[in-house]
């Protein structure tokens, strides 16, 4: 009689799964597989973490470079507008000179000052362009290079403000729609620089935080990723404080 079907039988053993003891060859093979899986997992999990951490750092790094590209693009936008500003004010100053038959000493002095202002702005502009060309692509590598950049940009913006101050002497020019448009564009580009700088600083902060936090800090150490400097707002260039957006 089949012990499985006999209700009086004492045999209630396995029907499909044998117990995990004894020297059953199938059991030994299974044990080896489990050990192999554990070993592979022990290797894969840290490797996976390493890849994840590396990708995290790479993303942060990429975000910093992308944010910097925006800063550069806005710096260029402002640089492109400056010659228009100078030309516009200069045209008006020269026009005034031609119209007036008798040039008073004060006015002549004012014109000389205006020309000095234009020249100073053009110089600052050229120096800033040379500085940027020498630096190459990407954000400045260290705090000193950032300080140089800030100084150069501050000089340019001071120059712009001086030219705008010259324009104050000519109420007709100030109230002209074309000048209003130019001024709005200049202020707009300055605002965009400020916003792009905030976004850049946020990206740098995230990168620097990831650099010191586990497990990304292990990758940062292994690859020798340096702390990245912030683009601070030079007090002489901008009156506004530049807080974080987050």
């Amino acid at each position: 009689m089949d012990p499985y079907r006999d209700p009086n039988s004492d045999f209630h053993g396995y029907r499909t799964a044998p117990p995990l003891y004894g020297d059953n060859p199938a059991t030994a093979a299974r044990r080896r597989i489990i050990l192999a899986v554990i070993l592979v997992d022990l290797l894969l999990i840290p490797a996976g973490f390493g890849v994840w951490a590396y990708n995290q750092m790479a993303s942060h790094n990429e975000a910093v470079d992308a944010a910097w590209a925006q800063v550069e693009s806005n710096l260029q936008r402002r640089a492109d507008l400056i010659p228009q500003l100078v030309a516009s004010v200069n045209r008006y100053v020269r026009h005034e000179k031609e119209v007036l038959t008798v040039v008073t000493r004060e006015r002549a002095q004012g014109q000389a000052e205006a020309e000095q202002t234009f020249a100073a702005l053009e110089r600052a502009q050229v120096e800033s362009a040379e500085q940027r060309a020498a630096r190459g692509n990407g954000p400045p590598a260290n705090a000193e290079a950032f300080a140089d950049l800030e100084q150069g940009q501050a000089a340019v913006w001071r120059g712009v403000q001086s030219v705008l101050a010259v324009s104050e002497r000519y109420p007709e020019l100030r109230s002209a729609d074309q000048f209003l448009a130019l001024q709005a564009q200049l202020e707009g580009s300055e605002n965009r620089i400020n916003v792009a700088r905030m976004v850049f600083n946020d990206a740098v902060r995230d990168y620097n935080a990831a650099r010191v936090k586990l497990p990304t800090s292990l990758v940062a150490q292994a690859w020798g990723l340096e702390r990245r400097p912030y683009f601070g707002a030079s007090a002489s260039a901008h009156a506004t404080v530049v807080p974080s957006f987050e």
Binding site: G188, R192, V195, T240, V241, F245
Partner: protein, 342 residues
Amino acid sequence: VSVRRVKRLRARAAGLLLIFEALACSTPEAPHSAVTDTAGLLSPEQRVAIAEQHGQLLRDHDVDYRVDITRDTGDLLVYGVRRFRELDVGSRSQSQRGLLLVLDPSQDRVRVEVGQNLEGVFPDAFIAYLETRQMVPFFNVGRLADGILAATELVVTRARNADKNAAFEVSARSGAAGGGAAAPAEIDAGRDERFRTGTEVFAGATPRETVHNYLSAMATRNGRPDLGLYSHETRQVLARWVMTPAQMDSVSRTYRGCRASPARVDEAGTRAVVRYGIYARECAPWFLVHEEGAWRLDLASAQQAVRFGADNAWHFAPDVDHAYTFAFQDWRFDPNGYPHAP
């Protein structure tokens, strides 16, 4: 059984609908949500009027335009960019197009923040023009809501042209990146007399000559309310009006492409109309009255009789009678007052 079940489901659906409607009606911010006024400078009616006009802008051109009137904002640029994000400006637009007007009465400054994907249509120079040449002249005389509404008219015109010329940027760029412009709001600073001066312009010997003189005056932004080419009544009305440089520019620009028909004069020879082709929908007719031997512009009557639709097409206000109907007998007007060919 199934009929009973359907009835039950219908009853439940109706109940749910009622609950939703009740919730929608009880939300106090719902009709005014385009306008935040923590400074309390606008009346509820003004908030509704602005919200309605901005709702129309959203429906017609998919631009989500919000207004935020708040004191002590600090740096207006930083506040504007942050507020743009907090209010999620652009989220009501399917294309994420957003504009935010921030008015800070404590600093007496106004700023319009432009979303990144709108910077091509509303460049900084246009925003500065909108603020200084349209909005601020109303603020000068304490009419804040009118200034905001008048500025929105310029935004609508610009958006309409952008739609017509497919100029809206199709991109996923949203949020504010510093685009826009700020200007002194000059609230209650008094009427800006710069735009109410100019050389005398006289009425012409013919109605068309007077209209020509008027358009020339507008081209030079001659906003003098007492010009000789205005009728007596018009001068009284203009003395109270705020005529902004942007409005004068708009008149001059609009009529540049309008070709006037010969003037139509009434039998008594006291009133005349200079009108344009029936399909020149943006070119509203001019009303003139013969006073002291010259044809003078009757803008006072035109102001009451003529309205402009959302597409800037002129029409007569349906419930307003005026003395110039004699010149339109050959046209048919629909119940809304829009002219049609007979």
